[in-house]
Symmetry: C3
Subunit: 152 residues, 3 copies
């Protein structure tokens, strides 16, 4: 099944890549690897999930934020590989979670990104991962996700 068909089945729409908020690009390809910039949970450039896990935003909202970051990551990927069928493996994702010192459920939050990638790409979507708790993130975002992807 093509990735476009799968995206339609899942009801996932990949937007245009967000314009980076600073002096960098959404993604860079080197050989068969694409390094994707840290993605925030934005829609049309507007931050959707702001706050600190364990303080003023809950795990369900954090998980939704991580899912949105992953969608934006695929938008960033498309700036260098227009056809997502050429993805051979999601290699690694890093999930940055803005949270208090007491918060311990970073893994649940980042699952919002991991589960979407597996739903879209199947076996090719299974990836290595780190989930870590941050003091804060750009613009006050609750979550930020970066990715390394292997392509044909």
């Amino acid at each position: 099944m093509s990735i476009e068909t799968r995206l339609a089945e899942l009801g996932v729409v990949i937007p245009q890549a967000a314009k980076p908020v600073a002096a960098y690009v959404p993604a860079v390809r080197t050989g068969n690897l694409v390094f994707i910039s840290g993605q925030l949970p934005t829609i049309n450039g507007e931050l959707q999930y702001r706050g600190t896990l364990g303080h003023d935003i809950d795990v369900a909202q954090g998980t939704a934020a991580a899912r949105l970051c992953a969608i934006n990551g695929l938008a960033a990927l498309r700036t260098v590989v227009s056809d997502l069928n050429r993805v051979t493996r999601i290699v690694k994702i890093t999930g940055f979670v803005s949270c208090t010192q007491e918060f311990t459920q970073q893994s649940k939050v980042v699952n919002g990104a991991s589960e979407l990638l597996q739903a879209i790409f199947g076996e090719r979507g299974t990836h290595a991962r780190s989930s870590i708790g941050m003091s804060s993130l750009p613009l006050g975002a609750a979550v930020e996700i970066e990715m390394v992807v292997e392509v044909e």
Copy 2:
């Protein structure tokens, strides 16, 4: 000398890879590189070092935690490269240290991982590294280590 002999000399036993606590895999190979998921200081799935450096866990414990994360990283590596003699270089490690805003000894903590990798792999074990201080880590872990490894 084979890596297995060296591990025996050092008294290091590499366990089975910990089952990831979420929707990802322990390690992914792409070309000659293996990206290894962030490892926690667990034994048989039980977290051994919990807490915040500078608050309720000291540098010696943090260093032991980092060493244990590195051992678990080699277990994760074995899920994709069963023979550790095929490691040609530990390329990069990132050491995530859960700590207070006043804590400044992240490098000493992460040495627990770096020194073990050099003891095991010799020249092939010398790596690039970043050590950084986190607000908190999954399950309340004191340290988390991720690795990029080059293999034959």
Copy 3:
């Protein structure tokens, strides 16, 4: 134009690589990629920018710190690729900013590194990037920058 000429135009002097403060090396090459260790804002081994963004150091100082980290990253790169004209792409940088939970301008701070790399390398200097807020950094540094670089 050669990179050396461009550095001279910009008044940028790349120092000798700082001796790592622990058991690792400044940079490791694997294939055409160089992974560069997290760099602190030091001159001759002395930390120049200490503190926490949003608390005791301002965005302008943080930006200057990020720029200095990038210069030290090029020094680290030279330990494995002596001629910087062989850089074909700055692939990815990660900017670690020591900051309070209220701080949201990590992107502005890390621009200090990104803008210098683009000034030096032009199109080859445009990179993917993540900017994140840390609880604290080694030695109390305000900023730490790591890089992945593609070389001939």
